[in-house]
Structure formats: C-alpha cells, structure tokens
C-alpha cells in the first residue's frame, strides 16, 4: 500500500484514537501534576437547629479569584506521585532505615495504601490470568467434542458468566457466600463451624475475589480458543493420530503450538483487564481486606464528600505505567517472533 493511501485509510480510526484515548490520557496526566489552590479561610459563625459555633469556612470570593487566575490549580510537579497516598518515597525511606528485617520492612510497606493495593492487584493478575487461559482452553476442547446437537446450548451456558453484567454477577455470588446464603451455609455445614465467614477473613476474601475473577473471565478465553480450534488443520491432527499420538499428545504437540498466537493475545488482554480489577471489590464490599489500584481511584473520586482529582489522576497514570510494564515481556516476545518470521 502506498503511504498516502495508508494514511487516508487509517485516518478515521487515528482521529478517534487521538480524540477518545490520547487526549483524555494527556488531560489526566496534566491534572495529576496539579493540586488545588490554597483555600482562603475565614472565621464565621454558623447556626443550625442544635447550636451556634464559630468555625472556619472557605472564603468563596478570594478562592474564586485564585481559581480565575489559574484554573488548573497550583503546580505540584510530581509531588502527588511521591506523597503518602501514592509511591510514598519518604515513608518507604523511613521504613527501610528503621526496620531490622525484611519482614518488618514489608509489613511497613503494606501499611501504605498504594503498596497494599498493588500487592493485591498483582496477586489477582498473576493468579487469574494463567487459570483463565488453562481453563478456557480446557472448556474449548471439551465443548469441541460435544455432539453437534448440544453444541449451541453448551456454548451459550458457558458464555453466561460473560453475559451477566460484572457487578450483578458479583452481587449474586456475594449473596450466595453470605453466612445465610447457599454457599456460605453449606461451607459452615461442611466444616462444622458456625462462625466461618468468607467475608470476615482476609485469605478467604482474596480467594473469593480470585475465584470470581476466573469465573467471569474464562468465557472470554473459551470463546477465543473455541474459534481458534475450528481452524486447526485436520490433516496435521490426522497425521499425528496415524503416528500413534494419544489425544493428550495431539493437544500438547499440535493444538497448543498452533494456538500460541491466541494464547499471547489472551494473555495481553487478561493482564490489562485483571490489573484494573474493580467491580468485584465494590460488589463484594471487600475494600477492608483487598484494595486494587482502580479501587483507590474510585475511592478518591467517590469515597468522600470532596473528590480528589489530582490524586485520582496520579493513580491512573501509575496504573497505565503498571500495565505497560506488565505487557513489555509479552510484547517483546511478539516483536521477536514477528521479526523472525519476516527474516
């Protein structure tokens, strides 16, 4: 294709990408470098139904004048990134100097909101992603052997977790694991422990969230693998059979290598998706036991009466950087493969 034709060909999608992806990201990045103006405070007397008291109040006119001059707020550079709510350089430094053992340092580190969220986010990502790939492939292979008549309904049922809205799916499971719910009550019976609660223990909450993550993402990898399975060349499979390969060997040495590009694709998608885990934490009301980077952003914007845009912006940018770091090894591998094939 000529460069000129190519340019005109991708212009619409390029424009859409700039408008809907690049510009918002840039605006978030800029926002994260600013904090709000110093609030000009005045002492006023407030009276309500219960009593009067003298308190500090924001001086609207003075603050409005400041805002007029610089609508973005005060420039803070990377200050928001390094404060306690984010990378917390100062606190990490103090913890490093003052703790004796690595364990003590780690427990200090996990007391900081960003690192606490990061550790859950990474655990979630690295446990859910491989499970989703293996299970998705397993389900796809199983469905592929189902007689033609039952294939449609089986595929539909397998896709259900993906069809159900994530928040609704999570809520349904949340009610089921409640001490009075089907799963919760059954577990109490099995372990003969009336105080067993999936919501009250941190490890069980993590397991619950991870199981939910696997449940809700597996259909995606299943459907991709299932589509891929239809294109595996029959001749190669038959040749393998003639050579005496068992079903397992045929899968291991024919199907899986053939599907490798799909595995890479799903890994990429899942790493990105799982790193941004939010819905299950909200729906399972699990923020006391597990927080994620996306949950921190949500909490900054929606947790209290005053939204903290700068802080939310900084966490968003850190999330993007995190995703980029996670994807780098996969992308490098793909790039090498691509070059090798071209050569």
């Amino acid at each position: 294709m000529k460069h000129r034709t190519f340019f005109w060909f991708i212009l619409p999608s390029l424009a859409a990408m700039i408008l809907f992806i690049a510009l918002p990201t840039v605006s978030v990045a800029i926002q994260s470098l600013f904090v709000e103006h110093e609030q000009v405070m005045v002492e006023v007397e407030n009276c309500g139904p219960f009593k009067c008291e003298t308190v500090l109040q924001v001086d609207n006119e003075a603050t409005a004048a400041l805002q007029e001059d610089a609508p973005l707020g005060r420039f803070n550079g990377l200050g928001t990134y390094t404060n306690r709510k984010h990378l917390a350089f100062e606190q990490v430094g103090v913890a490093w100097n003052e703790t004796e053992s690595l364990g003590a340092f780690l427990s200090e580190l996990l007391n900081l909101p960003f690192y606490k969220a990061l550790i859950f986010t990474l655990t979630f990502t690295f446990v859910v992603t491989p499970f989703v790939i293996v299970l998705g492939l397993g389900v796809a292979l199983a469905v592929n052997t189902v007689p033609r008549l039952f294939k449609g309904p089986t595929i539909f049922v397998s896709l259900l977790p993906m069809i159900v809205t994530p928040l609704v799916g999570a809520l349904i499971i949340f009610w089921m694991v409640d001490a009075d719910g089907v799963i919760g009550a059954t577990l109490q019976r099995i372990f003969n422990n009336p105080n067993l609660s999936l919501k009250a223990s941190m490890p069980l909450t993590w397991i619950m969230l991870i199981v939910y993550g696997i449940w809700s993402s597996t259909p995606f990898s299943f459907i991709v693998f299932y589509a891929g399975l239809q294109t595996v060349p029959k001749e190669t499979l038959e040749a393998a059979k003639i050579d005496g390969a068992s079903r397992w060997q045929a899968i291991r040495y024919v199907v899986v290598p053939y599907m490798m590009p799909l595995v890479v694709f799903i890994t990429l998608m899942q790493l990105m998706d799982n790193f941004r885990v939010l819905e299950p934490i909200v729906a399972f009301q699990a923020s006391a036991k597990a927080t994620s980077l996306s949950w921190i952003i949500y909490n900054d914007l929606r947790g209290g009466d005053i939204p903290q845009f700068g802080s939310a912006g900084a966490t968003s940018i850190l999330t993007i950087i995190g995703v980029a770091i996670l994807l780098t090894p996969v992308l490098i591998r793909t790039w090498r493969d691509f070059n090798r094939k071209r050569a």
Binding site: L56, N111, N195, G303, P307
Partner: protein, 409 residues
C-alpha cells in the same frame, strides 16, 4: 433508571395535585429538586410537587446525589434549582459558593418557619432545615428481661450487657452498628470520639488532633463492640442490619433514627420483634455526660446560578413541601423540625439523644477528608492487624496528604 423513575413520580405527583394543598399557586417558574432517596424526603418533594399554576415541579431522588451536586450546580443555569442536603453534604456546595442566601425569600415567604430551622452561616441564611436525625440505641426489651438487665445508658454497659447475652447463650452476636468499611465506619468513629469529648482539629486550624489518648480510648471501645458483632461487621450498613434486626438475631444495635419507624412498624419482622423493640438515647461513654452520637439535619438549599423567578418559585414550592399538611400526613416518617410535628414513639431515640446534648456533626470544609481517612485506616485496627497508636498515626498521615492536595494545609 432511578433518575427516570423519580422523575416520573415527581411528574405524576404534579398531575395529581389534591385539594388539600390547593393554596400553593405559583404563576410561573421551573422547580427541579435533587435529593437523597428515602421516604421522608420523597414526602417533601411530593408535597412540593402539588403546587399548581404555571409552575413545573420535578424531583430527582438519588442515593448518589452528593456526587453530582457540585457539577450540577456549577452549570449556569444550574441543573437543579434546589438541593436537599445535610450537615456534611452542604459543605462542598458552600466551599464552591454555589448556594443562594435565602434572607430575602425567608422574609417574603417564610413566615411559618421557626428560628431553629434557619441554617445561618456568617449571618446569612443558607438552608432551611426540616428534619433531624441521629444514630441511637435500639434494644430488644424481651432479651434484656431474660438476663435481667436495664436498657444500657453507657457504652460500657452495652459491652457488659452484650457479653451477658452471649454468655447466657441467647445470641452469638447480640450487637451491631453501622460498621461497613465506607462512610458508615467513619461516622461511628466520629460519634464515639465526640462522646469521649475529643476535638478533631487543633483550634482555628485544619491540622488534625486525633492521635491522643482520647483516640486510643475510642478505638478500644470500638474493638470491644465489634467483638460482640458478627465477624462480617465490615459489611454492615443500614440495608444489612435492619433485616437482621427484623429477623430477631440482634438484641442491641446503634442505628439511624430514621430506621425507627420501619422497625417499630415491624413489616416482615419475626414474631415478637417489633413489639419488644425499644428506642433509647445513644449511650454516653467513658464517664462523659453527652451521648456518643452526632446530630444531623436535612434541609433544602437553593442554587445560586438560576433566575430570581425560579428561585422564588422553588422556595414557595419547597415551603409547601414542608407545610403543616405534609407533616400531618407523614408524621412518623421522620423527626420533623416544624411546629406541626407531633413526636411519636419513632422519635423518642433522636429526641433523647438531642436533649442529652449530643454534638452536631462538624460542618467544616475539611471534615469530609478526615472522615474519609477514618474509614480507610480503621479496618486494619478493627481486624487486629495493628496497634491503636499506629492506626491513629496512619489516619493523621492519610488526612494530611489529602488536605495538602485539597489546599487546606
């Protein structure tokens, strides 16, 4: 969805204007009310919507209303002409200067208002309060009779009574409060800390002052209480606890006064629960003499960025919304501040808490940030992962980071 539904209810109510409120005639104007979503507020907006004439009245009831107030009122003209707020949700609107002083409208149309309904800030009336709310104790008289104890008057007695109920084998988890790890948990800390006589900030500044013995005592009391609560306590909000109370699995709970009507009516409750539900003042703590609770008011405010005509129409409609006729028709839906209100059994808890001298929730611009720091850091302590001192230090550090970003420090 809830927006469309509320909108439809508002519109239908407008169409169904009844003779009882026929005195409200507004020639023209546009009234659009944004409010939280609970029955008492719906009664107010429905009554406001009964005004007739050229005026159009609609209302949006939304649980997440506080997340949209600032943006909705910043627009010019504002998206809503009135917002129903409480002590805390009025603060962001005041901080941005989005509310209209109501002195002239009160002088012109507010003859029926009593003085304690006027929320004045720096001498200017900024809101008209119409109902009060507070968290207070709910107890099951039959369970207390079984172990022969009186209604607890202090939190220490609550712990003692709760243990007695547990030891008697009546219930495993006799106590609950609204300890969900969001705004609710922060509110419990605020209540308990004020009950201990604590101050949140160094006088005249936005610097936190909670890392002290009062803070430690507050945390220890909260830990004693959660040990009597279900291990799921970090997921307990009003929507969770009210059904548990109705099922008869709780003996003592600290809940919002606004739940009183529902629990006394006992719809869907197990047998014998509603009859034995007693509403009492919030207890005192650590030898203090004021109940460990905060007083809240709900009231309406009027947007600044609207025409004077709409503002006047809104004020008249909202005055009709809180009219004596509305109070009479919905007497037990809330603790109303209007003279026409006839306090019923559902109001006893709030009334006792208010006369006991509980503090109003602090209406400070930076209180919301401290409140948020409370609920972000408290679960670590309540789950036994760290010491009280460490938690208090964490709360202060989290607040300072947020307050610096918001420009208060």
């Amino acid at each position: 969805m809830s927006f469309m539904k509320s909108f439809a209810i508002g519109t239908v109510a407008t169409l169904m204007a009844t003779a009882a409120f026929a005195e409200c005639e507004i020639a023209s104007g546009n009234v659009n009310v944004l409010a939280n979503d609970f029955p008492a507020l719906k009664a107010v907006t429905a009554a406001a919507a009964e005004c007739t004439g050229g005026v159009t009245v609609s209302a949006n009831h939304n649980k997440d209303f506080r997340n949209i107030t600032v943006q909705a009122l910043t627009a010019n003209p504002a998206e809503y002409t009135a917002v129903v707020v409480a002590n805390s949700s009025i603060v962001p609107l005041l901080n941005e200067g989005l509310l209209r002083p109501l002195d002239d409208l009160v002088a012109k149309h507010g003859q029926g208002l009593s003085k304690n309904q006027l929320i004045t800030i720096d001498g200017k009336i900024m809101a008209i309060a119409f109902m009060a709310n507070a968290q207070h104790l709910f107890v099951r008289q039959d369970v207390l009779d079984q172990i022969g104890k009186p209604v607890p008057a202090t939190w220490e007695e609550v712990v003692e009574t709760g243990k007695a109920i547990k030891d008697a084998g009546i219930m495993d988890h006799p106590f609950a409060f609204l300890s969900m790890s969001d705004w609710n948990l922060g509110e419990e800390f605020v209540n308990m800390y004020l009950g201990h006589g604590g101050e949140f900030f160094k006088p005249g500044t936005a610097e936190p002052a909670i890392n002290n013995e009062t803070g430690v005592a507050t945390l220890n009391m909260m830990k004693d209480l959660v040990s009597l609560s279900n291990p799921d306590f970090l997921t307990y909000n009003t929507a969770t606890v009210v059904p548990i109370w109705k099922s008869g699995d709780l003996a003592i709970a600290q809940l919002w006064g606004s739940s009183g009507g529902e629990l006394l009516a006992g719809e869907g409750a197990a047998e014998g629960v509603a009859e034995n539900t007693v509403l009492a003042s919030a207890p005192t703590v650590a030898g203090g003499d004021t109940p460990a609770s905060t007083l809240w008011w709900d009231g309406f405010t009027i947007a600044k960025n609207i025409s004077d005509e709409d503002a006047e129409a809104t004020f008249i409609a909202m005055m009709n919304g809180i009219s004596p006729a509305m109070v009479e028709a919905n007497n037990d839906a809330a603790v109303w501040l209007m003279d026409a209100y006839n306090p019923g059994p559902a109001a006893t808890g709030v009334a006792a808490t208010a006369t006991g001298g509980a503090e109003p929730y602090p209406m400070l611009p930076y209180m919301g940030l401290l409140h948020q720091a409370f609920f972000e850091e408290l679960p670590d302590f309540l789950q036994g992962n760290e010491s009280a001192e460490q938690t208090l230090a964490d709360i202060e550090a989290a607040y300072i980071a947020a307050a610096k970003e918001a420009g208060y420090l």
